[in-house]
């Protein structure tokens, strides 16, 4: 029983195999007794696992959950976590709106300007640093 075939066998229980893989597995199962035994063991194991049958919660489980829920703040919106989440959501919307407004403004400026210079995009005065410094001095 090769490792590759064993891997294929395990995979066959949980996901569909390609036609080629299926044929290969069937042929190997016909000729390899150890692989057949492994298949039977895995089938048995899976059947047994289903039977594990984990018990339900205690009969008063729902009542306990509902009592705890009744003890929560009156309105869901009063919960601090939800308040901060909605606040973050509000800021996100504001940020998107701002970014959109800037993009529209820059595009508009560039369309109206003669060239694609950065100064035109931000409507900056076309001055050199020297000129700018002189302007601030006065």
């Amino acid at each position: 029983m090769s490792k590759k075939m064993k891997k294929l066998l395990y995979r066959s229980f949980d996901s569909p195999l390609s036609v080629k893989e299926r044929l290969l597995l069937e042929n190997t199962l016909n000729s390899d007794g150890a692989l057949r035994k492994e298949r039977d063991r895995i089938s048995e194991l899976r059947r047994t696992a289903v039977e594990a049958d984990f018990p339900a919660f205690t009969p008063d489980f729902t009542r306990k959950v509902m009592t705890r829920i009744m003890g929560l703040p009156d309105t869901i919106a009063a919960s601090p976590e939800l308040f901060y989440t909605s606040l973050a959501g509000g800021f996100r919307r504001l940020a998107w709106a701002g970014a959109l407004a800037v993009a529209v403004m820059v595009t508009l400026h560039l369309l109206l300007a003669d060239s694609l210079a950065l100064e035109n995009a931000w409507l900056l005065p076309d001055l050199s640093i020297q000129e700018l410094l002189e302007l601030t001095l006065f």
Partner: protein, 187 residues
């Protein structure tokens, strides 16, 4: 089991503050959640607490449920995450104090069944519980809850290939625990 339409009606009513509608959701899904958390944590009082936490977490964040998956799958995802958190907490506790609260809690008596059945089921549950958490979660979801491999991958947020390889290794480990000397190595 309720239909998706019924669930949606209950959910909308619960969102508007109708507690009885939420109670119906709890009743409809508590069996599945019990199976998930008890599969992960054992039949302990701790599992019961985590089960309650699943529904309370859902109650607090039910507005975020957009219906991309079924309600059962959504709740199962919460149950798996809370169970994994609990396992981590227990591990930390074990590191500090030497024994986990899970081990110290008394097991509840089983329902009336033949002694052989009870023993066999308990043996399987113990075997599943003794698996490392990453293998336990795939076994609980795929073999016990019978989710498809794709759904299991989506719930655990893992690539499909990882789930397939974990399933294969988990089954080998389970077999080596249930049938000692069957060849698999148990970590």
């Amino acid at each position: 089991m309720p239909t998706p339409e019924e669930e949606l009606t209950w959910l909308n009513a619960a969102r508007k503050g109708d507690h009885s509608a939420f109670e119906r959701i709890v009743n409809a899904h508590s069996r599945r959640i019990a199976s998930t958390v008890k599969g992960m944590l054992g039949d302990t009082a701790e599992a019961e607490d985590v089960g309650q936490e699943v529904f309370i977490t859902f109650y607090r964040f039910m507005d975020r449920f957009r219906g991309e998956s079924s309600l059962g799958t959504f709740l199962t995802r919460i149950a798996i995450n809370l169970s994994l958190n609990q396992i981590k907490r227990n591990r930390r506790f074990l590191g500090r104090f030497g024994s986990s609260p899970e081990q110290e809690l008394e097991q509840r008596p089983a329902r009336v069944e033949s002694p052989e059945t009870v023993l066999q089921k308990e043996k399987i549950r113990r075997a599943i519980r003794s698996l490392p958490a990453k293998f336990r979660s795939v076994i609980v979801l795929r073999l016990i809850q019978e989710y498809s491999t794709e759904e299991t991958a989506a719930i655990l947020k893992l690539p499909l290939g990882t789930v397939q390889s974990r399933l294969a290794r988990a089954q080998q480990k389970l077999r080596s625990i249930l049938v000692p000397g069957s060849g698999g190595k148990h970590e």
